[in-house]
C-alpha cells in the first residue's frame, strides 16, 4: 500500500456536552479516493473540519505525509497541501471567478500581479484537468455545477495535494455529478488524494477505493470498496439492519383531492423553477415526488401551500381553486383542509425560540379552539399540547420546554402532530425525515401510511430515493422544474435515477 497521505490518531472533539468525534483513527493512502460515509450528524463534517483547521481537536494526533502536523487554522491546512470543497460553497457571489480564486492566496499587497498569475494558472489547470470556466464570470451568474468547479480550482490553485469534498453531489444533477467524478478520477491519476464525504452509498461504490464508516461520532469500520456491499455499509452506518420498506397494504385511491394543472412558478430572480407541472392527488394514496435537490420540488410545495405565488396554472383543492395570482393565504388553505409539513422545520415549520406548546398551534393560532376573543386560551393550548406529546411520544414530554431543546426527530414529530391532528383532507410533506434519527423515521413513515389508510391524500417530496420508493403508491420524478415521468412503486432505482438525471428530457430537447 502507498504511503499514507493523512493519518489521524485518537481524535476527540466535543461541542459542549456533545461528543462529535470520539477516538477517531483513520489512515488515508496517497493517490486514492477515500470515502467517508455516515448518517447526518455522525461526525463526518466535524472530522474534516478538524483536518482543515476550522476547528481544533480536543485531543489526538494528525500526521500529514508522515510528519506530525499542527493544524490550527485553514492556513496551516492550505500550507500542508490540504484543500476543501465545502457543502455550502465558500464563494463571494458578486466577485468574479478570478477574484474568488486569489482571495487569501494573493502574491503581494497589490492585486495586479496576483490576477495575472491566477489567469495563467487557471489556463494551465484548465488544460490539465479539463476544468473549464470563464475567469471573468461573476459567481452568482454561474450555474451551481460551475460554482463547484471554482471551488475545486481554488483548492488546486493553492497547491492542494489532498482534496476534501463535503457532500459534493447534494446540489448536482446526476449528469453534473458524473462530470465531477470524472474530474476526481483525473485528479487521482495525477497523484492527488481525494477524500469524499457523503451519505450516498451509490457514490461510494461508484468512485472510491476505500471507504470508512462513521456512526455517532465514532469510526466503526474501514473497507476496501470492491470488497464490500451497499447492504454491509448501510448496516454499519445505522448499526442494525434497516427496514428499507415499511409494511403497507395496497392503496385504494378515491376521488381527486388536489388537482395541479399547468403550474408555473418563478423565483425572485425570475428563473422558472416549476415549469408547467400537472398532476392529480387522490384520496387514499401517497404520491412521492423524487428528484435531485434544487429541481423545483421545494418551490412546487411552497406554491401549493400558498407560501409562494405562481405565475400561471391552477390548483384545485377539493374541487375549488386556490388563488395563485396574488399571494394565497396559507391560513385560509389550512381552513380548507390542506396541511403542510415544510422542508425546513428550523426556520419555517417551527419557531425554535418558542415553547413547545406555542409551536403546537403555529398556523392554527387563529383557530377559535385556541382563542378567547383576541386572547390566547392558554389552558386549551396546554391541554392540546400535552395530548399531542402523549400521542406522538414526543420527548422530553414538557410542553413548556423551548423547542430548540428537542432533538431533530422530536422537533419533526411536533410539526407532524400539529398538522396531522388537524385531520386535514390533504397533507403535503417536504423531506419527512431529513436530519431525523432512525427510530423516528420508522414512526414518521408509519404515521404517513396510516393517514393514507384513513383515506387522506398525501404528497411527499424527498431527495431520499429509498424513502420515496418505500412510501409512495405513485412516484413522480421532477427534473429542471418539470415532471419527467411517473412510475409505480416497483420502479427500480436505476430507472428512477435516469429520470432524475433528465436523460429522456435532454434527448427530447436535442
Amino acid at each position: 500500500m502507498a504511503q499514507a497521505a493523512i493519518e489521524l490518531t485518537g481524535i476527540n472533539k466535543s461541542f459542549g456536552a456533545v461528543r462529535a468525534n470520539r477516538d477517531i483513527n483513520l489512515e488515508i493512502a496517497r493517490g486514492t479516493i477515500h470515502g467517508i460515509v455516515g448518517e447526518n450528524g455522525a461526525g463526518k463534517s466535524t472530522l474534516m473540519s478538524i483536518l482543515y483547521g476550522f476547528y481544533q481537536a480536543d485531543s489526538g494526533e494528525i500526521r500529514v505525509g508522515g510528519k506530525p502536523a499542527s493544524i490550527k487554522t485553514p492556513n496551516d491546512a492550505i500550507a500542508l497541501g490540504i484543500g476543501m470543497v465545502h457543502q455550502h460553497f465558500m464563494l463571494v457571489d458578486n466577485f468574479s471567478v478570478l477574484e474568488n480564486i486569489i482571495l487569501g492566496a494573493e502574491t503581494d499587497a497589490l492585486l495586479k500581479s496576483s490576477i495575472a498569475k491566477a489567469r495563467s494558472e487557471l489556463d494551465r489547470l484548465e488544460r490539465e484537468y479539463g476544468l473549464e470556466v470563464d475567469p471573468d464570470a461573476i459567481i452568482e451568474e454561474l450555474p451551481v455545477g460551475l460554482q463547484q468547479r471554482v471551488e475545486i480550482l481554488k483548492a488546486l490553485y493553492r497547491g492542494a495535494e489532498i482534496l476534501i469534498l463535503d457532500e459534493p453531489t447534494g446540489v448536482l444533477t446526476p449528469a453534473e455529478a458524473d462530470h465531477l467524478f470524472r474530474i476526481l478520477r483525473q485528479l487521482k491519476e495525477q497523484g492527488k488524494t481525494v477524500v469524499l464525504i457523503t451519505h450516498k452509498l451509490r457514490e461510494i461504490m461508484a468512485i472510491t477505493d476505500t471507504v470508512s464508516v462513521m456512526r455517532q461520532g465514532t469510526m466503526v469500520a474501514t473497507r476496501e470498496t470492491r470488497k464490500t456491499t451497499v447492504e454491509e455499509l448501510a448496516e454499519l452506518m445505522v448499526g442494525r439492519r434497516v427496514l428499507l420498506r415499511v409494511e403497507k397494504g395496497d392503496a385504494e385511491a378515491g376521488a381527486v383531492k388536489l388537482a395541479v394543472k399547468n403550474l408555473t412558478v418563478r423565483d425572485s430572480r425570475g428563473v422558472t423553477m416549476v415549469d408547467d407541472v400537472s398532476f392529480d392527488l387522490r384520496a387514499g394514496e401517497i404520491v412521492g415526488i423524487a428528484g435531485v435537490a434544487g429541481n423545483g420540488q421545494s418551490e412546487l410545495l411552497e406554491a401549493i401551500s400558498g407560501i409562494r405565488h405562481a405565475v400561471s396554472g391552477s390548483v384545485m383543492l377539493e374541487g375549488k381553486p386556490i388563488d395563485l395570482t396574488g399571494k394565497a393565504d396559507p391560513g385560509e388553505l389550512r381552513d380548507r383542509g390542506l396541511a403542510h409539513v415544510p422542508e425546513d422545520r428550523h426556520h419555517v415549520g417551527l419557531v425554535l425560540a418558542f415553547e413547545e406548546n406555542e409551536n403546537s398551534i403555529l398556523g392554527y393560532h387563529d383557530d377559535p379552539r385556541y382563542l378567547r376573543g383576541p386572547f390566547l386560551n392558554i389552558d386549551a393550548i396546554m391541554a392540546d399540547a400535552k395530548d399531542k406529546i402523549e400521542k406522538y411520544d414526543i420527548r422530553p414530554g414538557n410542553p413548556r420546554l423551548k423547542t430548540a431543546n428537542f432533538s431533530g426527530g422530536n422537533q419533526q414529530k411536533i410539526v407532524l402532530a400539529r398538522e396531522i391532528e388537524q385531520d386535514p383532507g390533504v397533507l403535503i410533506v417536504g423531506q419527512p425525515t431529513r436530519g431525523v434519527d432512525v427510530g423516528a423515521i420508522e414512526f414518521i413513515h408509519k404515521r404517513l401510511i396510516a393517514m393514507r389508510d384513513q383515506g387522506k391524500a398525501v404528497l411527499v417530496v424527498s431527495v431520499e430515493l429509498d424513502e420515496i420508493r418505500s412510501l409512495s403508491d405513485r412516484i413522480l420524478v421532477m427534473f429542471a422544474g418539470r415532471i419527467v415521468g411517473e412510475r409505480g412503486p416497483e420502479a427500480t432505482e436505476g430507472e428512477l435515477g435516469l429520470l432524475m438525471a433528465g436523460v429522456e428530457h435532454q434527448e427530447a430537447a436535442q
Binding site: F15, N75, M90, N94, L103, A109, L110
Partner: protein, 323 residues
Amino acid sequence: MDIFNAIIQVLDSTIRLSVPLLLACLAGLYSERAGIFDIGLEGKMLVGAFAGAAAASVFHSALIGLGMAVLISVAFALVHGFASITHRGNQIVSGVAINFVAAGSTIILGQAWFQQGGRTPALQPGERFEAIIWPGADAARDVPIIGPIYAELISGHSILVYFAFAMVPFTWWVLFRTRFGLRLRAVGENPAAVDTAGISVAWLRYRALICTGILTGFAGAYLSMVQNGGFVKDMTAGKGYIALAALIFAKWKPVNAMFACLLFGFLDAASIRLQGTPLPIVGKVSVQFMQALPYVLTVILLAGFIGKAIPPRAGGVPYVKER
C-alpha cells in the same frame, strides 16, 4: 457679476461643509464594506473633535491635536469592534452606545479640564490648520471667471480639505486594487469564504474599523480645528447621521460618496445663504426644509424610488462559525 460671486461663495462653502461629511462617509464606507454597520460615526467624530481641539490647545500644536483626534477616535472604533466582532453583539446597539458615551464624556471631561462650559479654549494660530494659499491665487483673483474659481474654490483651503478629497480616489484604489481591499469587500459579502481561505475575519474587520476610526478622527479634527477654532459641545450636530445617509445614497461606492456629500453640503450651504431671501418661483424656502432635505432624499432612495441601495450582504450580522 453679483450672481456669479454669490454662486462662487455658495460653492466655496459647499466644499467647506462637505468635508466633514465626506471624511465621515468614507470612514463608514470602510466598516460597512467589511460588514460592520456603524451608526456610531457621529460619536467617533465628536470625540475626535474634542480630543483634537483639547490636545492642540494644551500642546500648542495642530499636528499633535490631529494625532490625538485620530487616536481617540480609533479607540472608540475598537470598542465598537470589541462589542460587535469579538462578542458578536448587536452592531446598532453598540453604535448607539458609542454615540451616548461620546456625547456625555466630551462635555464632562471638557468642563472638568477647561471650565469653559464644555468648550475647549479658543485655538491660537499654530494650533489649528490654516488655509493654504496656492501660488498666484491673489494675482489671479481679478481674472474673470477663472480667477475667482482658482482663488476661492481651489486655493485657500486647509490641508484637511485637500486630504479629504484625495481620500476619494485613494479609497477607490484601496478597495479595488489592493489585497486589503479585496479581502475587505469579501468579508462584507461572505465572511465564511474569507475564513476558509485562511484569513482571520476578526482581524480583518478590526483593521477596517481602524480605518474608520482614523477617518472619523480627521473629520472631527476638521470640525474643531479648521471649521471652528475650538470644540463646542455637540458640535457634530447630526453630521454623522447625514454621512450615513450619504453612504447609503452613494450605494457604498467612494466616488458616489463624494458627490452625495457635495450634494448634502450644497443643501446646507444654500440653506444658510437663502435664509430669509425669497427665491424666484418657489418664494421663501424655510431653513428647516433645506435642513431636512438630505434625510428626505435618503428615505426616498431607501424606498427604492431612485435606484436600489443594496448594502453589503453580510452587513450587520456577527460572524459565527457554522457547526
